[in-house]
Subunit: 347 residues, 2 copies
């Protein structure tokens, strides 16, 4: 409650803030809970190996709109989202549990399509579907996934290890999935206004593909290992590059400085952003759903990192906590901020 | 699709049938997946110990109605449901991951209540909340739980080990949670018709308590161990005694015969059932949400089992698969059937 006796709005918390707030009185008490709330996955002692477990929920109208999301893609994307948390701990996802809440407007064939997508992702990433549940729903389609992975003791990379002067590194490019979503939303509105118009999405394949069927750069983890680069912290970019980088800084009690001109943005993303009159770096920083890897590494690894095709350096970690900046080419600096808890409305 | 080109309705499958249908082409391919789909929890090799993981989804309007479910009880009950799957494998639940989808009509204080209930259950059952997520929802409250547990190699009890002549044993009593739900629904309808009427639930404390705040008889597992009784199969009764017993029989390729007069029903449950003009054994067999233990044990353990206060024998396993019967006192026999996939509408 605030001073006026009103209840606290959920929107006042960030996404991470709310879960922290809700769980701050929970303390791990068992030896086997090596790492609980606050990172991408829980770490559980399994003697020689450590078991990683992570869970994600997908809700209709929030994480996807069935107007333009093929059900097969939905299943695939849900898996990628779930396992990206295991990869982001430097683990290997191995099992998956899937629960679905299904309303009566779906037929068995529809749900099969979701599972086809799940199966395609399981095959690509070599994971076993190892359990789950189906239940009916009166409120729309809901999918919950639990990913389980393993990591050797000592090889797990958390969010809290970044140190001043560490390089901030990313894979891939950013903002494409967000611009893909904007395009799909625009076509949906046009379609609803006039049923005669068929969506024409030629020339937009990349951004739409990134929205509907993302993949995770799992190979980069292997490249890092082969190059003997040991990241000091790591996270998967799902909330948005700015928001996820700030997570690393908060947990590491550092600041950061990244460079506007270094943020990787695909040409098609830029073009679509221009169509929408948006600076392309805005969706790159705040769009989310990029499913890329963000990590920090010691400065002395700069040559090794530069030799990796799949990784780009976008800035460095600074000493002062809560000082998060993006520097422009003209020397100007703008404070980075994590987006509020908007829930990425897809409706 | 059927012969007429129509899509298959989900209702045509049972709950277990649908998940089997959807996942029948998934084959575990990793050494570490010791047990995948088809039991209460997935078993994952962790060298000396085995990790058990199970996931459950709770959806508003299906698993609970917020009209009469206090949020704290909702959190507690969700945990009991999640960990009952670990216990039913003869494991010890140790960690829990919770994801919640929350619509904007909830305030932080409301969600805190859910977590208070989760915390109370975690304390009672000695488990750590070890992760999770919050997301916004436009479709109602959704809660997804993942329970993780451990078991020594060789001590895990599955559903498929029942053998002819094994005793069918249960803890506690049945049908109370279902009759509690019927009562709450009746009061809700009365309340909605005339806002002047306050619900009077005196004398119904037991059945309502069983609906709103169930507990799991975890202590019985210890009693069994101490008495050196090794169940041949085990399941937690959540779908309904008949449905869950049939699960054991199906997976063990056996039949069963249970006795009408042996089904444990509490006096209060009987009284409420009479008020509703229902034979009390009907909700006991088909009501569900009992959170009791159902297991089979070798006939030679009968004396040891009879010495346990918390366990009752209700029948025995028979040889012929798909022969599931309940025998009346008059010698009549009625075929047991699993209920269809109704989703336990709470609306």
């Amino acid at each position: 409650m605030n001073d006026h006796g009103e209840k606290t709005s959920i929107g006042e918390f960030g996404k991470y803030g709310l879960i922290h707030h809700l769980t701050k009185n929970f303390r791990p008490s068992l030896k086997s809970t090596l790492l609980g709330i606050g990172d991408d996955a829980a770490v559980i002692d399994s003697r020689n190996c450590q078991t990683l477990v992570s869970t994600d929920m997908f809700l209709e109208g929030i994480h996807f709109s069935l107007v333009y999301t093929p059900l097969k893609h939905l299943g695939y994307k849900a898996v990628v989202r779930a396992i990206s948390d295991i990869y982001a701990m430097n683990g290997t996802p191995e099992q998956l549990l899937v629960s679905t809440g299904i309303s009566s407007r779906f037929a068995v064939e529809d749900i099969e399509l979701i599972y086809e997508g799940i199966g395609a992702a399981c095959e690509r990433y070599r994971i076993d579907l190892a359990g789950g549940d189906t239940t009916s729903s009166v409120t729309g389609l809901a999918i919950s996934l639990t990913a389980i992975g393993r990591a050797d003791k000592g090889s797990i990379i958390k969010r809290n290890g970044a140190r001043p002067n560490d390089l901030i590194c990313v894979t891939g490019d950013f903002g494409a999935a967000y611009m893909g979503l904007q395009l799909l939303e625009r076509e949906r509105r046009l379609f609803e206004k006039s049923t005669g118009i068929q969506p024409d999405l030629a020339g937009y394949e990349y951004v739409i593909g990134r929205q509907l069927k993302p993949d995770f750069p799992a190979g980069t983890l292997l490249e890092l290992e082969n190059s003997k680069i040991v990241p000091t912290s790591m996270i998967d970019v799902t909330e948005g590059l700015a928001s996820d980088l700030i997570q690393i800084c908060k947990q590491s009690q550092t600041g950061c400085r990244i460079y506007y001109s270094k943020i990787p943005v695909d040409y098609e993303t830029s073009r679509v952003a221009e169509e929408f009159n948006i600076d392309p770096v805005t969706p790159a920083l705040n769009g989310g759903e990029d499913y890329e890897l963000l990590f920090t590494a010691p400065l002395e690894d700069i040559d090794k990192i530069n030799s990796l095709h799949s990784v780009k350096v976008i800035g460095y970690i600074t000493e002062q906590p809560e000082d998060y900046f993006i520097a422009g080419d003209d020397g100007s600096e703008v404070r980075l901020s994590a987006q509020g808890w908007t829930g990425k409305a897809a409706t």
